[in-house]
Structure formats: C-alpha cells, structure tokens
C-alpha cells in the first residue's frame, strides 16, 4: 500500500456509521474504498448535493463531484443550491471534512490554498468547510517532496482557517489536538518516534496511550 492509500485507509477508520462527510479532492476521495463494512456515511458535495456515490456506468448529465468529475448518486440523494450547500457546511451539519494540507501548525492552523507568487488556486469551499465542519481531519503526506516538514510550529503560508484542525493523519502518524495541544496518538508500523521527531517541526506531546497505527487486518 502506498502512502496515499495508507493514509486514506487510516482516515476511513475515523468515520462513524451515519456520519455526513465532505471529502476534498485528491487523496480524500480514496477514503470510501476503505470504510469498514458496517460504516455507512453520506457524502456531501459542496457543488450542491448530499448522496454522492461512485460512478456506475455512463456519466449522468450534470452530475459531477466538487472536482468537476462525473460521479454517481445513491437512493435518497437531495440536490440544492450553493447557499443551501454552504448553510449545511457552515452551520455544522457536516460531521467530518477531510482535506489535504500544505502546512499544519501546533495551534491547529491549516494552510492549504495558496503559495504566494507561485500557486494561487483559491480557497474554493475549503475555508467554509474547515470553519464549519464538526471534525476537521487533515490527510496528507508527512513531509514535502524534498523532505521538509509540513507539521510546523507556525504556518508560514496564508491560513485556510485558524485553530480548527482536530486530527492529522499521515503515512507515519496520527496526531490529535487535545485541549489546544498537539498530541501524537499513533505511530505507523515500522516507524519510530525518532523518525517522527526528525520530520516534524511542531512541538508535540506523546499520548500515554500512543499506540501502533490502527489499520484493518
């Protein structure tokens, strides 16, 4: 299993049956493949519906996910406009949002929408999702391609939202924000605490219950 699939697999274990979930584009879209059999979630798509499902067969006209890609829908789907979509998101009616990150810091700040002067795609729905969802999970590779830390003392890039991240899941570890403190909760198989310290700039405490990363057998 590569890093992305490992992360998606671990994040999938965070979902509870009945959760309403919004998945960012990229890595998070792999998560439904790894849900436990007894966990059924409802996927919210910020372009205007609840009931996103996998594409089965031919594309359906005007049915795309928030990445603009053809998708499917489950029985009991509901369509709505963008104001209602974000009333649902901002109003706390989404249980979990999973997004990628460029940087997360030890205060729970997330930066994932721009690199000034280089890449300015825009925040899309990310600021509202991170502000409004009950549980914000950042799912990302632990370090940059050239080995730099992404879990920092303080984000240097423009923030997506301040102090909203609840968990960080990487291919090396699971961190949680508990009482405003970054806590190492799980370590991936074959990884040492020293490996994590070496690739993490943020200050964190190791949970007394810190264990091996919980993955399905």
């Amino acid at each position: 299993m590569d890093a992305k699939n490992l992360i998606a697999c671990r994040v999938a274990q965070e979902m509870k049956n009945g959760d309403v979930v919004n998945l960012g584009i990229g890595l998070p879209t792999l998560i439904p493949d790894y849900l436990p059999e007894d966990v059924h979630i409802t996927l919210q798509s910020e372009n205007g519906f609840l009931g996103l499902g996998p594409l089965l067969g031919e594309p359906i006209p005007n049915l795309v996910n928030a990445g603009g890609k053809p998708c499917g829908m489950v029985p009991g789907t509901a369509f709505f406009d963008s104001a209602m979509s974000f009333a649902i998101i901002r109003g706390g009616h989404v249980d979990v949002t999973v997004l990628g990150g460029l940087q997360v810091d030890q205060e729970g700040n997330l930066a994932n929408w721009m690199v000034p002067g280089k890449m300015v795609p825009g925040m899309g729905g990310a600021m509202d999702l991170v502000t409004g969802a009950k549980n914000v999970i950042v799912a990302m590779e632990h370090a940059t391609k050239d080995g730099g830390a992404k879990i920092l003392k303080r984000c240097s890039l423009p923030l997506t939202a301040a102090r909203k991240v609840r968990s960080i899941v990487t291919e090396l570890a699971v961190f949680r924000f508990i009482d405003g403190q970054l806590v190492l909760a799980e370590i991936a198989p074959g990884v040492t605490l020293e490996d994590i310290r070496a690739r993490t700039e943020a200050e964190f405490v190791v949970s007394p219950q810190c264990c091996e990363m919980k993955l399905p057998k």
């Binding site: 372009n47 005007n62 795309v64 899309g124 509202d128 301040a162």
Partner: protein, 221 residues
C-alpha cells in the same frame, strides 16, 4: 393571463452587451454555465468584463474561454486553479482577481438579491480574507461583515423553463444559478426546453419567472 413568452434570440441579447459590464455567471466547473451565451459574449467582441462566479473553469470550457481570449478585466471567484490562464494573467497584472470563499460568495450574491446589507460569517476570520473588512464580535465569536454583490447582468443555465420564465435546473447544475437570478439588473437564462405556463410543477420551480427577463433556447441560432 396572456403573458407573452419571454423567449428572445441571441441577436436581441447581444444588443445588451456593453464593454466594462459586470456579469454573474452560473456554474461550477462549467456545469450549469450557459455555454451558448458565453460563446456569444465572445463572438460579440465585448471586453473589459467583470465576471463573478464560482470558478473560471478551464481555458476552453465554460466562462474560461472569455479569460483565455482576454475579454475580462476583473474576476470575483472562489477558485481559479483549474484555469491556468487566469492565474497567469493575474500574476502578470493583466487582470484583477478577488478570491472569495465559496460559501461567502454564495451569501454575498444572495444578499445582493435579497435587499440585505451583508452577512456576518466566521469564515475567513484569522486569514487574509479578513483584510479591510468590518469585524463584529458577539458572545466571544468574531465574524466578518461580508457585503452584497450585484451585477449588470446574470447569465443562467436552466434545464426547463416555462414561457413566463419559471426555471428548473438539473442536478448539480443548480449551484449558484438560483442565487444569481435575484442579483442582477437583467437576468437571462439559456434553457434546454421552453414549455407552456403551468407545465412545470409549481413545487419544482427553482427560480420564479418574475425574476427572469429573458429566455434563450439552447442551440437557437
């Protein structure tokens, strides 16, 4: 009631295009964007447009073709990452881009159409989005005051319309369209079908006809 049908031709619509005008456009990654009207805006040669909508699609789809062909002076949008031309022109200083969180964009357009002076949102607090904005705190929570957006024209993509202008949208093509229908001085919808008044279930109407000035049938020449 002998309401005349609101159908017009592209030629009639074109007489309303003006250099420098502002346009609200429906759509999310071009799904729900009236491609025929966008194409006619391009063909008309109108320029210096301010365009307002969720994203700028791609250089060869949706509203993106107006950017690729340099007809746009300013973009107000939540996401431009799928159209490299928008980012390139922005960084080169050729167009102005105002990035707005998607939910805030929806609310600002809704305010523009609903006679509201703005909304208080927690989205953007503690980020660069708050720069220059009025902030209010209630019960220890900070909010940004986000102000209305309106435009000279709204261009919508409907699925089915009746002759009075009542509109329905299809699936994920609804997105910003119903909000924009209230927020412009002139509202035109491109539609796949025009039926008689009464042929759309009144429960299913997503935009009441009184908000719509004109209809264009898709593919009309």
């Amino acid at each position: 009631m002998s309401t005349p049908c609101k159908r017009i031709s592209y030629a009639e619509l074109r007489s309303r295009f003006k250099d420098g005008m502002s346009i609200l456009f429906g759509g999310f990654m071009a799904v729900g964007t009236p491609d025929g009207i966008v194409r006619d805006l391009l063909d008309s040669g109108v320029k210096d447009l301010t365009i307002i909508g969720n994203d700028t699609a791609t250089p060869d789809s949706g509203i993106g073709i107006l950017i690729a062909n340099r007809r746009v002076r300013k973009v107000i949008s939540s996401h431009i990452g799928t159209n490299p031309e928008t980012g390139r022109q922005m960084i080169a200083g050729e167009i102005e881009v105002e990035l707005v969180p998607q939910g805030t964009l929806a609310e600002r357009i809704r305010c523009g159409g609903a006679g509201l002076g703005g909304v208080l949102t927690p989205t953007g607090v503690g980020t660069i989005v708050e720069e220059g904005k009025t902030k209010l705190s209630f019960d220890g929570i900070e909010y940004l005051v986000e102000r209305p957006i309106r435009a000279d024209m709204a261009i919508l993509k409907a699925y089915r319309a009746d002759e009075k202008g009542n509109l329905t949208y299809q699936r994920a093509a609804r997105n910003f369209n119903p909000l924009m229908a209230l927020a412009a001085d002139y509202v035109v919808a491109e539609t796949d079908e025009i039926v008689n008044a009464g042929d759309i279930d009144p429960e299913l109407v997503m935009t009441p006809g009184i908000l719509v000035n004109a209809l264009i049938l898709c593919g009309e020449k």
